[in-house]
């Protein structure tokens, strides 16, 4: 036991002395939360609108004012011809353009429909679709107002057609403001934990191999599990500290809700750390160099946990193959659990399946990774 304590002290010294790695380990969670809170957003506002109006009349100016007053549009250019549009779109100076035809007001007054062309930069498909919907809404509102204020037709008879509307009442549940920070924080915890637990563990263990000091450890009275424990426990502690750090920062800076039980969340976090550590140990026992270990962790652990956990990109939109793979990605389960606890305030009564799976994975992997480590020693 004293030997284990000695190894632990040595590991902590290593970490303390390596200021740069320590700095990254502390900065990583803090900066990530800030980035995801402020930079990773998908809401659309301040649309750069170009207007092509060859012959301004009362109606086109009216409609232009409607766009300007809508709040989300900013008219960046007004031109008489469409020549300039290409350049505006290609440089990104404009995202959307409305093109009037000459005699817009005249057409409106007569029976034929007044044509209006709405061109949207759909490079990013969702933004494109949303912009189209916004522009249509402005035009529809304008049209409705015109109809309402229309004088009766000459004959005095007015066709009345009851308009039927289905009025959607929208309730946005669990995250009414749709603040991105609320969504990303649970995933971020998984991300930070994966880096610290899997990547760091795999690298420190292979480093001992690469530099040849693993041999020295092996001939010491330390038993294999003690070597692993000595190497892993410091990162377990750091990982746990990182989770708390992310959580506290998210609660203070972004006021992310924590509706469920903190204890349960921390317990699940610990479970996830255990799973990730095991991945790290397993990979380190199969690789001989730091580079290979890093590559292995990156491909088998980090990438799937970022992409296939539903952390950033919705799983439902992915091809079936990727969705199947996601079932074995531990991050997916942790993200579901953490979002459930934080945003929905649900507990084990809904999350027992995910928890059970993670527990099984943690202990299953523990056995496999220890055995694999022992095997390699002989």
């Amino acid at each position: 036991m004293t030997a284990l304590r000695g190894l632990l002290r040595k590991e902590f010294f290593h970490i303390r002395r390596d200021k740069r790695t320590a700095a990254v380990l502390v900065m990583l969670p803090v900066v990530q939360v800030l980035l995801f809170g402020y930079a990773i957003r998908t809401d659309v506002n301040d649309v750069r609108l170009a207007v092509v109006d060859p012959s301004p009349d009362s109606a086109t100016i009216d409609l232009r004012n409607r766009f300007a007053a809508a709040g989300i549009f900013r008219i960046v250019a007004t031109a008489p011809r469409t020549d300039d549009l290409n350049r505006l779109f290609q440089t990104g100076a404009a995202e959307q353009a409305i093109v009037f035809r000459p005699g817009f007001a005249e057409d409106l007054r007569r029976t034929e429909p007044a044509q209006l062309l709405v061109i949207t930069d759909a490079t990013e498909p969702n933004t494109g679709a949303l912009l189209q919907a916004y522009a249509q809404a402005v035009v529809q509102q304008y049209q409705a107002d015109l109809t309402r204020s229309a004088p009766q037709s000459a004959s005095g008879a007015r066709s009345i057609r009851p308009a039927i509307t289905i009025a959607p009442i929208v309730r946005t549940r669990f995250n009414p403001t749709r603040a991105s920070s609320n969504l990303f924080v649970p995933g971020l915890m998984a991300f930070v934990l994966t880096i610290i637990s899997s990547l760091m563990t795999a690298i420190t263990l292979t480093r001992e191999k690469e530099t040849g000091t693993m041999e020295a450890l092996l001939v010491s009275p330390l038993r294999p599990w003690e070597i692993i424990a000595g190497k892993v426990v410091p990162y377990l502690a750091i990982g746990f500290a990182a989770v708390v750090l992310v959580l506290v920062e998210a609660l203070i800076v972004f006021r992310v809700p924590l509706r469920g039980s903190v204890l349960l969340l921390l317990f699940e976090g610990a479970l996830y750390i255990l799973v990730s550590l095991n991945f790290g140990i397993l990979i380190s026992s199969r690789t001989s160099s730091q580079r290979l270990a890093m590559l292995g962790v990156f491909l088998t652990t980090l990438l799937p946990n970022i992409l296939l956990s539903g952390f950033i990109f919705p799983l439902e939109s992915m091809p079936a193959v990727l969705r199947w793979i996601s079932f074995v990605v531990p991050g997916r389960w942790f993200v579901t659990i953490a979002r459930g606890i934080m945003l929905k305030g649900i507990g084990l009564e809904y999350l027992w399946r995910e928890t059970l799976y993670m527990t099984a994975l943690a202990f299953g992997l523990l056995v496999v990774s220890l055995r694999s480590f022992n095997e390699r020693l002989e």
Binding site: I40, Q136, Q290
Partner: protein, 375 residues
């Protein structure tokens, strides 16, 4: 000059012989490209929804049918009670619950207006907003259809005024294919990772193994050493781009509207920035582990703030300003502008100038730092 070539040749031999490095540079990025392009999508289809039809009338069935036929939704549950729908939301099996109230048809017929409740599970992120707007447009279309088929009261004369015929045109990505948008950006990410991570790791490795010391006592100057080290990675970056473009074209059918020559020219400049960052990192770290972590950390920030995954326009104002000094942002913009929009030199002039300036600054700082450390 000959010495540089020899050293570069040695470096190329190293890369070719080193199976790990080869895997890192050629296979991993292509896997990333294939997975990322499929996974990194905010596209909405097959969204699981539950519909609670309390009315069970022909009008309410119309709502159900329209939602089912839309293609964006997958009706996975049609519970009879609100409680079940609520549970579906809580256990996460549905993204939206639609509730059609009891007197839906009656009130629709009598007053012309009837509510439908849409509960969106915003836990699913940005998808929630899009799902909601899709559902709303389905309902609006159904309402319009009912209006058309409803009997008119009074003489049937066309409403003479105020019909605006809105034509919509989506430019550059008319089929709204997310991959067209992602692939040009992912290519930039891959080149960034190759450029900075591998060069940083490579030089740090020489330090760790002690071979850097050996090189320092040879007649090779530091300038020659840097050029010889970076040149092979510069070429690798361009090979990477080529492979990525081929996969993008063959597998995903991405559009290549603009000039490839222009794209390669910009990529050649951009790689200097990425390599410079790697060189700088390698000169301030001592071990491979540090090199990996520091690079990972920095590249990660660069990528997240580049508009690669989410539009720059949506970011907080101060982030938008800060991202101006992010070289990745400018290359992502340029790559998309050239490939998707067919922009020429004039249209990309502004980001290109910033890229050029960053290349000069980053390389100067990195080489200075390297000299300071090495002496």
């Amino acid at each position: 000059m000959r010495r540089v070539l020899f050293l570069a040749q040695a470096e190329v031999l190293h890369i070719v012989r080193d199976r790990i490095l080869l895997a890192q540079t050629l296979i991993v990025p292509m896997i990333q490209l294939l997975i990322l392009s499929n996974a990194a999508t905010f596209e909405i289809h097959n969204t699981p929804i539950a519909i609670v039809d309390l009315d069970r009338s022909s009008a309410s069935r119309g709502v159900v049918n329209h939602l089912a036929a839309n293609g964006h939704f997958d009706i996975v549950d049609a519970p009879a009670s609100l409680d079940r729908a609520n549970q579906d939301m809580l256990d996460g099996s549905v993204t939206m619950a639609v509730v059609i109230p009891h007197d839906f048809e009656t009130s629709l017929m009598r007053t012309g207006v009837a509510p439908v409740e849409l509960s969106v599970n915003a836990e699913k992120g940005s998808a929630a907003g899009i799902v909601q707007s899709y559902a709303q447009s389905v309902l609006a279309a159904y309402g319009a259809e009912l209006t058309r088929s409803a009997p008119t009261i009074g003489p049937r004369i066309p409403d003479p005024r105020s019909r605006i015929d809105v034509r919509l045109r989506s430019r550059y990505n008319p089929t709204l294919n997310y991959k067209y948008y992602m692939v040009p950006g992912i290519l930039v990410a891959l080149m960034t990772i190759i450029g900075s991570l591998l060069s940083a790791q490579n030089i740090a490795r020489e330090k760790e193994l002690g071979t850097l010391e050996q090189l320092n006592v040879t007649p090779i100057t530091r300038g020659e050493f840097i050029v010889a080290k970076l040149l092979p990675f510069w070429c690798l970056g361009l090979i990477e781009l080529t492979m990525g473009l081929i996969i993008g074209k063959l597998v995903f059918g991405i559009p290549i509207v603009g000039s490839l020559v222009l794209l390669y020219a910009v990529a050649a400049i951009y790689l200097f920035v990425a390599l410079g960052i790697g060189l700088f990192i390698s000169s301030v770290v001592e071990t491979q582990q540090q090199a990996m972590f520091v690079t990972f950390f920095i590249v990660n920030i660069y990528l997240l703030m580049s508009g690669l995954f989410t539009p720059i326009d949506s970011m907080a104002p101060w982030v938008q300003v800060a991202s101006q000094i992010n070289p990745v942002r400018h290359f992502v913009t340029i790559s998309r502008a050239i490939l998707m929009k067919g922009a020429g030199p004039a249209e990309i002039a502004q980001p290109l100038v910033i890229l050029l300036a960053s290349a000069v600054i980053v390389l100067t700082v990195a080489v200075r730092q390297y000299h300071k450390r090495a002496s």
